[in-house]
């Protein structure tokens, strides 16, 4: 808890150092070959690149505390505005992936534990091992080949056909529900299918693994033996008492799962042309837009740190034994 702010400042210093150790001059690169020395100087002054490094670092840190991540050399807009505009697309996709991987992963994990060493358990083990070994960009391409190109039952890429619903929250599903725009809702949902499946697959594999291990641990405990002796129906024991204890372990892995999802989003968004933060980062890479890459790194890092903080607090609430 206490380390939240120092960790963020440390992260800022690291991203700043990375972006400023380069010998290449981003301004000269952007200004083009025909720019005069004065024009390059003027551009430098505009982006603050003419000041000494430590002054630049202090200015950057002060800017960040005021929500100013600098100006993107490529889009010529404030990076914080760019990132904010892209955020809903990534959040919508990530939320769907979390939802899908949990709703499928937890029951599968329970079944694998209850019917351990059955055909289902072996099949799920192969599936989870594959989920953690497959490159998500390749899986994305396989899905595109099969569902979008061969069977043509889902769109190939993008987030929606046409302009989308009236922007209120920026979440297309919510917005189209609010204004009762069913065409947009259908389009938004169909565009979500493939990116969600791709993103959710490794996360689901992780959830199945941890739920299975958690249920197996809980199933052998004394209270389960007691409940069985009391004659409680086994379904009730499993889905109510065992699952609750098993999920404690799974909840602590949410941080890990978010890590998988954020890392996956960069490549998945690139393949599906999904206009979120990940695609923004990839575009920034292609355009050598250093400020934008650093802004993206900082924002995802901060988000990740906050998620882990919340998980720590949640863990203490669910399982009081870990406090102290």
């Amino acid at each position: 808890m206490l380390w939240f702010v120092p960790t963020l400042i440390g992260l800022m210093i690291i991203t700043f150092t990375i972006s400023h150790i380069i010998p290449a001059d981003p301004v000269a690169f952007f200004a083009g070959e025909n720019a005069t020395a004065e024009q390059i100087e003027a551009l430098r002054a505009r982006y603050g690149f003419d000041k000494p490094l430590h002054i630049q670092l202090v200015n950057y840190l002060i800017g960040v505390t005021q929500g100013d991540l600098g100006i993107s050399i490529y889009t010529q807009r404030p990076i914080s505005e760019d990132l904010l505009a892209r955020l809903p697309a990534t959040m919508e996709l990530t939320f769907m992936a979390v939802f899908f991987s949990t709703i499928v992963g937890v029951p599968l994990g329970v079944f694998a534990a209850v019917y351990r060493n059955s055909f289902l358990d072996h099949f799920l083990r192969v599936l989870t091992v594959s989920g953690l070994a497959i490159a998500s960009f390749w899986l994305a391409i396989l899905f595109q080949l099969l569902f979008a190109m061969e069977l043509q039952i889902t769109p190939l890429q993008g987030r929606i056909d046409g302009w989308g619903p009236e922007p209120i929250t920026g979440f297309f599903i919510l917005d189209s529900l609010i204004v009762a725009d069913w065409e947009s809702l259908k389009s938004a949902l169909s565009h979500l299918v493939l990116p969600t499946l791709t993103l959710a697959f490794p996360a689901m594999a992780t959830i199945v693994r941890f739920t299975r291990a958690g249920v197996l641990d809980a199933i052998n405990s004394n209270y389960v033996l007691y409940e069985q002796a009391m004659g409680l129906p086994s379904n009730l024991i499993i889905w109510k008492y065992v699952l609750r204890n098993a999920l404690i372990g799974t909840v602590t892995q949410i941080g890990l799962i978010f890590g998988i999802l954020i890392a996956g989003a960069v490549v998945v968004e690139a393949v599906f042309d999904w206009p979120g933060l990940g695609l923004y980062a990839v575009e920034a890479i292609l355009n050598s837009d250093y400020n934008a890459i650093m802004g993206f790194t900082l924002v995802t890092g901060a988000f990740f740190i906050i998620v882990n903080l919340v998980v720590d607090i949640l863990h203490g609430v669910i399982d009081p034994r870990t406090q102290g």
Binding site: W3, T7, I141, L145, I262, A263, V266, I285, I293
Partner: protein, 286 residues
């Protein structure tokens, strides 16, 4: 030492999944070593044959040809060299940085050890691929820079692990005894603590290989890996995208290759962990 190695090998040989993993890894190493002998067209790593571009799989081109008319099978074999070089060097550097830092931070209890652990916490606070993207982008696309980016982002895993293991080893009697006998801190760390925590380091290193290969391939896919005409697997998948769905074979070979190799390290690592690190044993049979 020799006895324990024999024990581990005999245990591993009985576990079917780790045996599969070991075979996959051995296959990768053999392919990387003998790529020039195994490849039907070794010159196709750099040579182009535009008239033969985008041919489907056949007896003369097992996995078809790519956009330049080069034999994909031959290029994949040479791609194994890049994959193994990146993974082995990046992980090796991470271990060489992380293990001493973890040992020093774990053995001492002062501001230096706090500082070292805080720095590694900052690196662990961000998903590895994000920092690796930032570093690889700044330095420019090349094999060396991918290795640098991965080493710079992966070392904290070993620092954290070794730190925790060293702290718990310090409470053991054998460490206390050697300190009481007047052994220097260096001697205690290197000759007494390190051998006793080596099994956790080995397990972490094996499992880390799979993740590193996936991240390296993702960097290649995003155009941050070695530049064209490198036969790097991730880059090949990226190249194939504009020729889909007609050239379906183009992305298949590198995709399957990455999958099998990562699977090999994951299975082997799981098996090793079961034998060497009983505390975290996966619940096999309840």
């Amino acid at each position: 030492m020799f006895e324990s190695a024999k024990f581990i090998i005999s245990k591993l040989a009985k576990d079917r999944t780790s045996l599969v993993g070991a075979c996959l890894i051995a296959g990768l190493i053999l392919i990387a070593l003998f790529a020039p002998l195994l490849a039907p067209y070794p010159q196709d790593v750099t040579e182009f044959h535009p008239p033969e571009r985008l041919l489907g799989p056949s007896m003369s081109h097992f996995f078809g040809t790519d956009r330049m008319g080069s034999d994909i099978f031959s290029r994949m074999l040479f791609g194994a060299r890049i994959t193994i070089a990146i993974a082995v060097i990046a992980i090796g550097v991470s271990v060489l940085i992380g293990v001493p830092i973890g040992l020093i931070a774990g053995y001492n209890k002062n501001w230096i050890s706090d500082g070292l652990m805080r720095v590694s916490d900052i690196f662990l606070a961000v998903p590895q691929i994000i920092l690796a993207i930032a570093i690889a982008q700044t330095l420019g696309p090349s094999i060396e820079n991918v290795i640098l980016a991965l080493s710079a982002t992966y070392w904290p895993f070993w620092a954290r692990l070794v730190y925790a293991e060293t702290r718990s080893a310090l409470t053991e009697t054998y460490v206390e005894a050697s300190i009481a006998l007047g052994a220097s801190p260096f001697r205690v760390m290197v000759f007494h603590v390190l051998p006793n925590i080596s099994s956790s380091i080995i397990v972490r290193t094996t499992i880390g290989m799979g993740g590193t290969i996936l991240t390296a391939a993702a960097l290649g896919f995003l155009g941050l890996g070695p530049p064209a005409p490198s036969p790097e697997w991730g880059r090949t998948i990226a190249e194939s995208r504009e020729f889909l769905p007609e050239a379906w074979w183009y992305a298949t070979a590198p995709g399957v290759a990455i999958f099998l190799v990562v699977m090999g390290f994951n299975l082997f690592g799981d098996g090793l962990r079961d034998i060497l690190d009983p505390r975290t044993r996966r619940s096999h049979d309840g």
